[in-house]
C-alpha cells in the first residue's frame, strides 16, 4: 500500500514519480478542456482551429508581401516562407502567454484540490500545441497547392518544434510561479512577446542579418527554431547555423532548469497566497 508522508520544510526538487504517473491522464484532460472550451458556443466550432491560421496567412501575405514589399521573389513562395516561421513562433508566444497566467487562472483548483501543480502550465502549453497542429494542416495544404515538397531533412522538423515548445515552457514555468505572487507578470509578458517578435526572423530570413550579429541573435532560441523549421519544411532554405542551434539548445535547457526549480520551490505556497 502506498504511503504518503506530508512534512514541513521544502519539497524535494523531483516530484514523486508515482504520483505523476497516477495523474498522467489529467494533463491530457486539462489540455482537451482548454481546446474544447475555446470553441464552445461558436458557429464554426472546431473549424476555427483551421480558419484562424488561414486568416493569419492571408493577413501576413497582404501586409508583408504586398504592402511592406518584403517579398524578394525568391525560389520559395514568400507566403510559405513566412508561414513556416510564423506558425512555430505563434505556438511559442501562445505557450508563453498562456503558461504565465495558467496557475492564477486555475486559482480555484489550486486552492481546493491536490494534484501535481506542474500539470497546469504543461497542459496549458499543450493547448497551444494542438492549435499548432491544426495550423500545420493548413500549411501542408498550401504547400501542396504551391507544389512545394518538403526536403529530406523534414524528419528533423519535430525536433525543432519540441525546441520551440520547451523554449516557451521554461520561462513559462518561472513566470507562472512568480505571477502567483506578483500579478505584474501578466502585464509584462505581452511586451516580452512583442519584443521577441521583432528579434525573431518571422517576417524576414536570417540571411538578411549581418554575419556578426547572427550568433548573438541565437541567444533567442526562437531564431534557431524558426530557421530550423524553414530548413526542414522548405527545399532550398539555408540550414541553420550549427553553433547557433547549440547555443539556443543550451539556453533552452538552462531556462527549463531554472523554470522547473523555481516552480517546484514556489508551488507549496501557491494555495496560501493565490
Amino acid at each position: 500500500m502506498q504511503e504518503k508522508v506530508i512534512r514541513s520544510g521544502p519539497a524535494p526538487l523531483l516530484p514523486p514519480l508515482d504520483e505523476l504517473w497516477r495523474f498522467r491522464e489529467l494533463c491530457w484532460t486539462l489540455a482537451m478542456r482548454g481546446v474544447l472550451v475555446r470553441y464552445k458556443q461558436t458557429i464554426f466550432g472546431i473549424g476555427w482551429a483551421v480558419l484562424r491560421p488561414v486568416l493569419t496567412a492571408l493577413v501576413m501575405t497582404i501586409i508583408f508581401g504586398k504592402i511592406a514589399k518584403l517579398d524578394d521573389g525568391g525560389a520559395i513562395p514568400y507566403l510559405l516562407m513566412v508561414m513556416a516561421g510564423a506558425l512555430p513562433f505563434q505556438m511559442f508566444s501562445a505557450c508563453l502567454l498562456s503558461a504565465s497566467g495558467s496557475v492564477v487562472a486555475n486559482a480555484g483548483m489550486v486552492s481546493k484540490i491536490y494534484f501535481p501543480r506542474l500539470m497546469i502550465p504543461v497542459s496549458t502549453c499543450m493547448v497551444a500545441v494542438v492549435d499548432f497542429f491544426f495550423a500545420l494542416l493548413v500549411y501542408v495544404v498550401m504547400a501542396l497547392w504551391y507544389g512545394v515538397m518538403p526536403p529530406a531533412q523534414a524528419v528533423l522538423f519535430p525536433m525543432f518544434i519540441l525546441m520551440g515548445f520547451l523554449a516557451a515552457l521554461g520561462p513559462g514555468l518561472w513566470l507562472a510561479a512568480v505571477n502567483v505572487r506578483y500579478r505584474d507578470i501578466m502585464q509584462i509578458v505581452p511586451f516580452l512577446v512583442q519584443i521577441l517578435t521583432y528579434l525573431s526572423p518571422v517576417g524576414f530570413s536570417m540571411e538578411k542579418v549581418p554575419e556578426r550579429w547572427r550568433l548573438l541573435m541565437s541567444l533567442n532560441p526562437m531564431v534557431s527554431v524558426i530557421d530550423g523549421c524553414r530548413w526542414t519544411l522548405l527545399p532550398g532554405a539555408p540550414a541553420p547555423d550549427v553553433n547557433g542551434v547549440v547555443l539556443s539548445a543550451v539556453v533552452i535547457v538552462l531556462m527549463l532548469l531554472l523554470g522547473f526549480v523555481c516552480f517546484r520551490r514556489m508551488e507549496d505556497q501557491f494555495a496560501d497566497i493565490i
Binding site: M1, Q2, E3, K4, V5, I6, R7, S8, G9, A11, R22, F23, E25, L26, T29, L30, R33, L36, V37, K40, Q41, G108, M109, V110, S111, K112, I113, Y114, F115, R181, Y182, D184, D268, Q269, A271, D272, I273
Partner: protein, 417 residues
Amino acid sequence: MTQAVTVTGIGKSYRIGQLFEWQLRHTLVSWLKNPLAALKRNHTDPFWALRDVSFALNEGEVLGVIGANGAGKSTLLKVLSGITRPSEGEARLRGRVGSLLEVGTGFHPELTGRENIYLNGSILGMTRAEVKRRFDEIVDFAEVETFLDTPVKRYSSGMYVRLAFAVAAHLEPEILIVDEVLAVGDVMFQKKCLGKMNDVARGGRTVLFVSHNMTAVRSLCTRAILLHKGHLELDAGVEEVVERYIHHAAVELPVFVDTADWPRREQDNLKPGLRIQSVELVGVEQRAILTVGCPLKIRVKFTVSKNLPETVFGFVLKSADGVKLMECRSGMDESSRIRSLSPGEYVIETNLPELPLGPGYYSIDLGARCEDGGLDHTPDVLSLLVEEPQAIDNLWLRRVEGVFRIRSHWTTPETVI
C-alpha cells in the same frame, strides 16, 4: 488494526499581512526608502491557524472534525490533502487519498455534463477508465440523464451541485477527506449524500469529515475531534465531542452583559437621559442556550438622569445572518405603558412564555425610546443558541422545517366511517 492516518504535531502558520506586504511595489518602495532595512527579513508574529495537532486514525474509522469558524478545520484538511504544506510536524497517510473540499471545483461552465464528469473525475485522481466504469452510476446518482449534453452553465444550481457531488462520491480512495459539502442542495439531496457517505464509511474506507451539521456528524462518524483556535481540544467519542462543542467550545454566549460602558452611536444619544446598564437572560445558567418552546425572560437594568416623558422598551430577535425576525415592545397595551420616569435606577423585565424559534443561533438588539426623541440602543447585546429538546432522540423526527416554531395541537387519528 493498522493506522491509516497518523498526524504528529502538525502546525500551519501564516504571516499576517503577508499578502499585502508582498506586493512588488511595496517591496520596491521600502527598499528605496531604506536599502539596509530591506535586507533584513521583517519579523512579524506569525499567525498559527493550526498548532501542535496530533491524532491517529485506524483503517475504517470515520472521524468528525468539529469546531467553530476559524478553528482550523479547513486548514487541517488542506494540509492532509497536500494542498498546502504544514509549517511544522508530519502526517502519514497510508492508501490513496481522495479529497473533496468544495463541490464542483474544476467544473467548467461551458462544458457539458458528460465532459465535466470526465474532467472532474481526472482532476480528483480517477483515470478515464475508472470514470467510464462508474459513469452510469454517477449519472444515475446525480439524476441528470436528460441534461448530459447540456453545458453545465445552463444547469440549475441544484443539478450542478448534485452532479459535482456524484462525481466525487464515486471516487474510490482508501482515505476520503470531505469538507462541509453537505451544506449544499435541498433536504432530499442532503439525505441522499448522507446515505452515500454512509455507504462509503460502511465500506471500510477511512473518512475525515468536517461539518457544522451535528446531526450528520452524529449519524456518520465513529469518532470526533474538536478544534479550537487551531489547537486540538478534545479527541473522543462523537457524542462527547458534539456535546462539548455545543456547550463549551462554541461561540461565547454570555447570559449577562454589562452595557454601561458600551460605546453608543452618536445619533442614538442626541438627548441622553436614559442609559441601559445591563441586560440579563433570566432562568438560564452560564451560557445562553435555550430549548425550542421554552420561556424567554430578559431583565434590563437602566438609569435615568432626568425626568422623562413616555418611554417604550423593545427588543428585536434577529437570525444569525442578521434578518430581523420580530420585535417585542412595551406599551402596546395599557398595562405595559410607561408614562413617565423620574431620575434613578430601574429594573424592567420582559417575558415571552414560549420562544417561537426553531433551532439555530439568534441575536437580540435591545433599545429604549423616549417620546422626546431620546433613545438608547444596544445592538446584538445577547446571542442565543436554540436547541431541539433532548426528549426527541429520534433523528428523523428532529428535521423540522422553518425558522419559527409554534406549538400546534393535533387530534388523535380517528377512523373515518
